[in-house]
Symmetry: D2
Subunit: 308 residues, 4 copies
Amino acid sequence: MATKLSNQLLEDILAQVRPLIGQGKVADYIPALAEVPADKLGIAVCTVDGETYQAGDADERFSIQSISKVLSLTVALSRYAESDIWARVGKEPSGQPFNSLLQLELEQGKPRNPFINAGALVVCDMLQSRLSAPKQRMLEVVRALSGEPDIVYDARVARSEFEHSDRNAAIAYLMKSFGNFENDVITVLQTYFHYCALRMSCMELARTFVYLANNGHSPALDEPLINERQNRQINAMMVTSGMYDGAGEFAYRVGMPGKSGVGGGIIAVVPHEMSIAVWCPELDASGNSLAGTAALEILAQRIGRSIF
Amino acid sequence: MATKLSNQLLEDILAQVRPLIGQGKVADYIPALAEVPADKLGIAVCTVDGETYQAGDADERFSIQSISKVLSLTVALSRYAESDIWARVGKEPSGQPFNSLLQLELEQGKPRNPFINAGALVVCDMLQSRLSAPKQRMLEVVRALSGEPDIVYDARVARSEFEHSDRNAAIAYLMKSFGNFENDVITVLQTYFHYCALRMSCMELARTFVYLANNGHSPALDEPLINERQNRQINAMMVTSGMYDGAGEFAYRVGMPGKSGVGGGIIAVVPHEMSIAVWCPELDASGNSLAGTAALEILAQRIGRSIF
Amino acid sequence: MATKLSNQLLEDILAQVRPLIGQGKVADYIPALAEVPADKLGIAVCTVDGETYQAGDADERFSIQSISKVLSLTVALSRYAESDIWARVGKEPSGQPFNSLLQLELEQGKPRNPFINAGALVVCDMLQSRLSAPKQRMLEVVRALSGEPDIVYDARVARSEFEHSDRNAAIAYLMKSFGNFENDVITVLQTYFHYCALRMSCMELARTFVYLANNGHSPALDEPLINERQNRQINAMMVTSGMYDGAGEFAYRVGMPGKSGVGGGIIAVVPHEMSIAVWCPELDASGNSLAGTAALEILAQRIGRSIF
Amino acid sequence: MATKLSNQLLEDILAQVRPLIGQGKVADYIPALAEVPADKLGIAVCTVDGETYQAGDADERFSIQSISKVLSLTVALSRYAESDIWARVGKEPSGQPFNSLLQLELEQGKPRNPFINAGALVVCDMLQSRLSAPKQRMLEVVRALSGEPDIVYDARVARSEFEHSDRNAAIAYLMKSFGNFENDVITVLQTYFHYCALRMSCMELARTFVYLANNGHSPALDEPLINERQNRQINAMMVTSGMYDGAGEFAYRVGMPGKSGVGGGIIAVVPHEMSIAVWCPELDASGNSLAGTAALEILAQRIGRSIF
């Protein structure tokens, strides 16, 4: 009944969703993102056994944007006691737009979860406090996980984000006013935007995130990044909060933990089996890759995998 | 590594969580609920193969309260086109208390999902429009699913709920003002409170909900209640929205789709394997059974089951 | 410098604002209001010395709608200790639309002031508790104050309002859920809508409200309706909260205490001197009579009267 | 009936309200304010004819804080077309705490009025754009209006405010994200906090603000600061929005346009007659001087002046 994974299967799926291109909208709040060709489409899979599959523009790098929020959290879990993290950021869905201040004000500066901007900024603030060179450290992490030593930040994107960072600055200052932000706002924003400006391909993303399908253990590392329980917890939070205000719809249609970025990338996880990365720049109304979500939906059906 | 299911395992788990009794708070907004002994504790499991396990007060009936919201939605899916349902109620987590009007007003009377009060009231309104005797029909459904022909409504609880129904009346009238409520408010509230006032035991609940672990097919019925896809969708919504404003925490700790009621019951699902019902009246700050959640958390660990 | 009051002055002002007709929008949420001709335009003045002036359709009756909220409060002040009233309704501007539930929920069912719907409903609820026949009593009050024994409710308007009362019912039930509503919701709504459905002319309104310019003393009555201090307080609340969410703009432009209704009427007060009533059915974006506000603005300038 | 103004009358009033000291709370969010003795109490009156009256600590300087918002607006009115100002800030009461971001976010970064922090920050931003030395310019203005060439900023207070400015920074950045803030946030905050840190006495404040009782014309200047209409408009806005979330209560009790500061000062206006300044550091729950408000209430009664 369920089809076996293969490059051909991935090709078929891309062919099926390609007609959706034109129905979404490329993120245009910064020029560097707006100019990415709308017809890019790629997918890559990495299994826990190390097998990889790919189709389309799976080797072309793009701006991973909010997908980096999962990486920040993962690094934070290795540097902080869990209770220290969850004292400063919650684990619940926000039910609000990703960059809303309303809830943050009502809830005394404690963000709902680490995957909305406010939460990710708190996590970056924590990394800033503990890491001597947080930007360099993140590069080391993704280079090690992906096996690609030449992954770099897109300095132009980071600069452009920073020039449009007023709302994120407002969020950070609001948390600071509630005592939930330790470092200089500008410095943390710089780190945050660099993380968002990581350029990685679908294949690199699939390789990087396979630890979330493998009890927290990346095949590229000797030691687990996080423990089994933490792995399950990240996956749980990706389901409830990983897809902006479209988490319910994504769970409903795709049935996998996932995290999207406005660059059009999505990383998804089949627990104990594989990680999947898709990329197609046009976004739906919730800010998630339109064709990318459709590709994951079809893939889930074809291989018969849904956590539900 | 993972322990096999057995009555003994369930007994062990109950013994482990029983000390938590005294740390929560029995729902007291209506007298009929407040007077339930706080030390009741039961658990029951029903596998897709029809095996059952139980421990504690698993055969004692209690008020299922909001667990009934899953049943209403299931019945609605059998009577309406999906698009008709989702035009009137969303699929996203609310990020708000279960009985909030704030979001409902900002979002023009369309509730976020069918598991908050507003959403369940819309679903009841839809049933009222299509079923000739919605209260009788629900009894038939649960009697058939559970195999217990003597399940009834607790008339005293239903009456008591109705006498404290001002906020739910406000919710219903607000939706009516936006054109998202068809029937007489009082009539629908009566139906809604009767559904909440169903008295069922853990074992009956486990048997009733095993269809959610079995592609929508209850062993008690010839025909599937809902199709596979709808089954996955309900499970997905239970994860993102089934536990009031503690959905993230529950997903994080337990890792199963679940739906709780203020009577202290929780129904949880291991897709393709089993349904689990627990009951312990004291609630945590989010309104979910405190010891019940703990029991599910331990069970998930012991049998090595988490969807994440 | 300041022009003396005269019928001619009022005629001139109406001529000046008549061209504005066509730029506003007649209230159309109930048919009975929607069918009022948009070109009605009237003004009447009543001084504390009993002199009256008028122009245009000043003798034609219309639905006074929310202007009645000032009368309800006045009657309540004669039946309750002030502290009992202000324990249940505030005195602050709401900063929200007149029929919002959001603030009411955040503030535990206590409305901001008696001139928004929630506040007026609480006042009606209080009258219901103390008056044996609240509808008849209000008729007696306005007949006595205006000197017109044939003032009646427009039963068709009252019925039509009631048929569109879902949002007001939601407001009342929400307050009831917080313990701030004593009587049957439907009964109080009936009273409330009857008060709104009073039909009075500009001249009758000017005569009725001259007590607000005369230390609470109506020339038509032997005893003061309210005392001096209460008079000042009502005037103060009319300035901060009498014009829906256009109170600031009205204070800014007209500089008088005022209360408007969606029927297109406005009552305004020059303390110690006169009451003024205008009527023109088309409303501005804030729900206040567009030409009526303009007429009051010009009148204030011409006679050199502003409280500021 | 009404008592004539005299120093003795003012002494009597202070004696009457002095027992209230101890019932309020001195602002303590910055140390420099917290250490002001709580028993300071002063009042000064300046009539449009140039007569002055005073009692208590009327010559002692204190931090005028938000009273400066009226000065910023006045200066802005002399440098900008009115329409340019009201395009960026509204005229309506906010119904929210003075430093709320919630409404600002819902309303796209346009503050409700110039007397809440957000609105005053926009006004400062406008001054920053047009004045070559906005801090020096404001000193010149208050020195000229008060006739006291030695008025200065309290550098320690300004610095201390700046060190606790996170929430105001959040507000400014949020407006910037909506395009309603032109200059560097830090620079404007510096200007804003200096204005708040003006040290002036009651007598200096009364002399400074008498233009609001005199058609916009200060006796100290040859030219009017603002025109008559603008004067009325500022007074109107002070009534609806000058007293944080206690504007309704202040209008209700005192019946004068007023603007308070957390330093415990209040400036009030009897149009066409006089300006009044009071100072007593302890604040009520709304952030207004507790004894100061009481003094104004009694003064209004004694001299028989209320705009209502």
